[in-house]
Amino acid sequence: MRPLTLSQLPNSRKHIAQFAFALMALVWSIGGSFQVAHAHVGEGHENHGNDPVSWMRFADEHAAAQASTGSASSPSMPFLCHDGDLALETQDVAVGAALGGPLAAGPGLAAALFQQPGASPSVVMDEDIPGLVEIGEFPDVPQKDLREVTDNIICQCGCGLTVSACELAMPCSVSPRMKYQAALYLEEGLSPQETLTKFAEDWGEKVLAAPTKEGFNLTAWWLPIIGLGLGAGAVAWALVTWKGQAAPAEEVTAGETDPDMLSRIEDDVQEGM
């Protein structure tokens, strides 16, 4: 029996087959990425999540290990700061291996998904962050400009809030220092926009609350507009097509006896009788 080719399939089944192939490729690449993600996990790491009991036990063990080896490294507390590597447990490897197969290579979406540091409500110890200045006498700068900057930069303590919000919400020593830094830049004569650019140079663009409008980031800004445009185009196309199928319609006349309104109200009244 000759194998069936795609072109021999009826139309709807052909579409299904194409869709299935595309989806399999997506899942395959995601699965492969899990494998890559796991390859970065250092030995001896365990996934403690934000389970404090498990964490405390791990911290004690870690301290004991340090005492015996004289190592100076310190474990990271889930509520203080994050360890760089995110440990995935064995089940993830199984899924990755099952789905990833031979295509697993190079950094992929899931590597990005599962390799980044965890995201529990957290405050990073500020000494871990290079470039933070000690707060001195606060410069007298226009509050509007300062607010424009702090509304548009993300606090690097790990909370994910803007500096303006974090300063109020979290017991955090990072956001006041970032705000102070912003004030210093403004005092030097930088505009709010230049201050934002300076922050991006100092900390990387992740410090900005919105992506820059350049390079790959243009996709972030343009895709919603393109999506909306395509949607509007589809609606317009549907209207033109569907209008062509319509029988000549008599206009619903209105005035004092708008039949639509009247019929709706009369229906209600009849129903209620």
Partner: protein, 670 residues
């Protein structure tokens, strides 16, 4: 309790597997015994998971700290209220909550449809069982068993995160989950309709009530989350475009689009492909929301930490999209309907535009939330927060408000010029006047807010005139007084008039948000004892600074707090209130928290945050945020929820109920 809970979870998983297998076999072969057996499996899973849920609650209330979850999220000092809420404070408990709620939903569906929709039910059961399988699998095999025991039993637990010790946070996760899980029902019926080829609007009518409840609970959960952020987090806002907030908003927006577009299919038989796509999307995005919250993939102030359930949820989403996508493509020829649209100036035309905007907004939120992950895949680290979302959401929200005014009053098929003039000239004039007035008052600034004010007025006048005409007609025809006529409007056509209440709530809410966004201001003051200062028209003085400590059962320090009681008077010296604000440290959690003080009024909230204080000298450093229109934001939320409740409770036509009852009776006689 650990053993009982774990066994119950295993039984729940086994029952779900059985229900899936038997259901699928029954659906394919038509074997009635297999179909009934699958439904039995679902009831069994619901029973087992109810036992598991009861076991976890019992363990929490009885302080069974041999269970790691109990030791991690509760303590002897927690009140019963918060002990009950500790159930969903962590990852494993949340997954159990998801699975348990789904099993209850599934059991109700099975019981409700013993004699109805029998052609659809085999696939409905199979789909519900498949989703149940995924979540019970996570607990049994993927390391999120809430009954796992530790190597040792601590004398006391760590306690609940103090930020979570707030009434709205107790209800927020549950309501969000009821919403998320609720979208499984339209999805299951949609799959059944696709699998069986019965693609008329019967499946839509079967799920309409369920969809409204899911939408309502999800919306209520979002509001409670916003309220929690406002009163507990202390940053003076209620919505920060945080990824976890976004995760709940996306399916809500899709659900809203779905609730509107089903009306076109019911009335005109159009948009069948669109409706099945929306039903699938709402559920897939609910799973995506769960994935974002549970996997630790996003950086959020209130996401759970990293976990290993992410890949499985991702796989689940891929399967949902894959299987549904294939079914939709397979059924495309049957889903095509002879669509006729005579004019964009018609009810169906405006609904198309409203769907476009809702879906575009959902896509925007989805895209903005997911973009940092995509950027990281191409070696860029970016953040996407409020400035990005506000850039798009403002204009799109304004357009949606405008459509809210047009949609309900346009005639089906084609509205005449007279219809347009009669219904919209007065509201348009009212809207234009309000826009102008707001621009004048603001000195030409905040034109976006002025525009939203005008659009909101436009909608308000159209809705008011609709009520006025309805009441007037009833008074004339039925000789009812105004109060009776108003009540009868709701009882005779609850779907329409409760819908107006929802619209009214939404415009009050969005207008309040716009005002708040534009006119929010803040100030700082350091005060010595007995000193007072003026802040934005309020006279502020510190009435009292004190320290308070509370202890654990065994006498250890539980919490130490510095409390400031701040006296607030108006400019004429009339006392407006004493506002309590504090900074506290919870020893068990090694965490500082801020309790904000809020003095609400119709115009604005005075929001006071204690930054630092010295009890010895009675001095305090305070931060003030003037939050305008917050009262109206919450009133808008309440109106929207109230309208949703009315629609959900009374939204079915009498005719439909009678027909369905007759079908059920006829089927039972067979």
């Amino acid at each position: 309790m650990s053993g009982l809970g774990t066994i119950a979870l295993f039984i729940g998983f086994a029952a779900a597997v059985w229900a899936f297998g038997a259901g699928f076999y029954g659906a394919r072969s038509g074997n009635a015994m297999a179909i009934r057996s699958a439904e039995g499996g679902i009831l069994g899973a619901a029973l087992a998971l109810t036992v598991a849920a009861a076991a976890l609650w019992y363990a929490l209330i009885s302080h069974d700290f041999s269970i790691e979850y109990v030791a991690s999220y509760s303590s002897r000092e927690l009140s019963l209220f918060y002990l009950i809420g500790s159930f969903w404070a962590g990852q494993a408990g949340s997954i159990l909550l998801w699975a348990w709620m789904l099993s209850i939903y599934a059991a109700v569906i099975v019981k409700q449809n013993r004699f109805r929709h029998r052609d659809l039910m085999p696939y409905v059961s199979t789909t519900l069982a498949a989703v149940l399988m995924l979540f019970t699998f996570l607990m049994v095999f993927a390391g999120t068993n809430p009954f796992a025991t530790g190597e040792f039993t601590p004398p006391n637990g760590t306690g609940l995160n103090p930020l979570l010790q707030n009434y709205s946070q107790m209800f927020h996760p549950v309501t969000i989950y009821i919403g998320f899980v609720g979208f499984t029902v339209p999805f299951a019926f949609c799959i059944a309709a696709l699998a069986t080829g019965r693609l008329d609007d019967r499946w839509l009518r079967a799920v309409r009530g369920w969809t409204i409840w899911a939408w309502l609970f999800l919306g209520t959960g979002i509001v409670l989350g916003g309220r929690w952020a406002y009163v507990e987090l202390g940053w003076g806002g209620f919505w920060g475009w945080d990824p976890v907030e976004n995760a709940s908003l996306i399916p809500w927006l899709i659900g809203t689009a779905f609730l509107h577009s089903v009306m076109i299919q019911e009335k005109k038989g159009m948009l069948k492909v669109w409706n099945v796509t929306l039903a699938v999307s709402a559920f897939a995005l609910s799973l995506y929301g769960t994935f974002l919250t549970r996997s630790g993939v996003v950086q959020s102030v209130h996401a759970f930490a990293e976990s290993n359930v992410g890949p499985y949820l991702m796989l689940g989403i891929a399967l949902v999209v894959g299987v549904s996508g294939m079914l939709i493509i397979y059924r495309l020829p049957d889903l095509r309907s002879k669509a006729v649209m005579e004019s964009i100036f018609s009810r169906e035309g405006s609904f198309l535009l409203n769907n476009l905007l809702f879906v575009a907004l959902a896509f925007l939120v989805f895209w903005g939330t997911t973009y940092p992950i995509i950027a990281q895949a191409v070696s860029r680290e970016v953040s996407v927060r409020a400035p990005f979302f506000n850039f798009f959401a403002g204009p799109m929200g304004a357009a949606l408000i405008l459509l809210t005014g047009f949609c309900p009053l346009l005639a089906w098929r084609k509205a005449s010029k007279k219809n347009l003039k009669r219904n919209f000239i007065a509201p348009a004039i009212g809207g234009a006047l309000v826009t102008l007035l707001m621009l004048v008052v603001a000195g030409g600034q905040h034109w976006g807010t002025a525009l939203i004010g005008g659009f909101s007025t436009f909608v308000f006048v159209t809705i008011s005139s609709e009520f006025y005409r309805g009441i007037r007609a009833r008074r004339r025809i039925k000789h009812e007084n105004s109060i009776t006529a108003t009540g009868k409007l709701f009882t005779t056509n609850p779907r329409r008039y409760a819908g107006y209440i929802i619209h009214l709530g939404m415009i009050v809410l969005l207008f309040g948000v716009a005002i708040n966004f534009s006119y929010k201001s803040d100030a700082r003051a350091s005060l010595q004892a007995g000193e007072s200062t003026m802040v934005k028209g309020y006279q502020i003085s510190v009435a009292e600074i004190k320290e308070e400590e509370s202890v654990t059962e065994d006498g250890g320090l539980l919490k130490s707090a510095i409390i400031a009681n701040v006296k607030v008077e108006d400019a004429d010296g009339k006392q407006l209130g004493i506002v309590h604000t504090e900074k506290a440290r919870y020893q068990n959690q090694d965490q500082d928290t801020t309790e904000v003080g809020i003095l609400p009024s119709l115009n604005e909230d005075l929001y006071i945050i204690l930054e630092s204080a010295d009890p010895a000298t009675g001095s305090a450093s305070l931060r003030f945020i003037i939050n305008p229109a917050m009262f109206w934001v919450w009133i808008g939320c309440v109106l929207t929820i109230a309208g949703g409740v009315l629609t959900a409770l009374y939204g079915r036509n009498k005719e439909e109920v009678t027909r369905e009852t007759a079908h059920a009776f006829a089927a039972s006689e067979l």
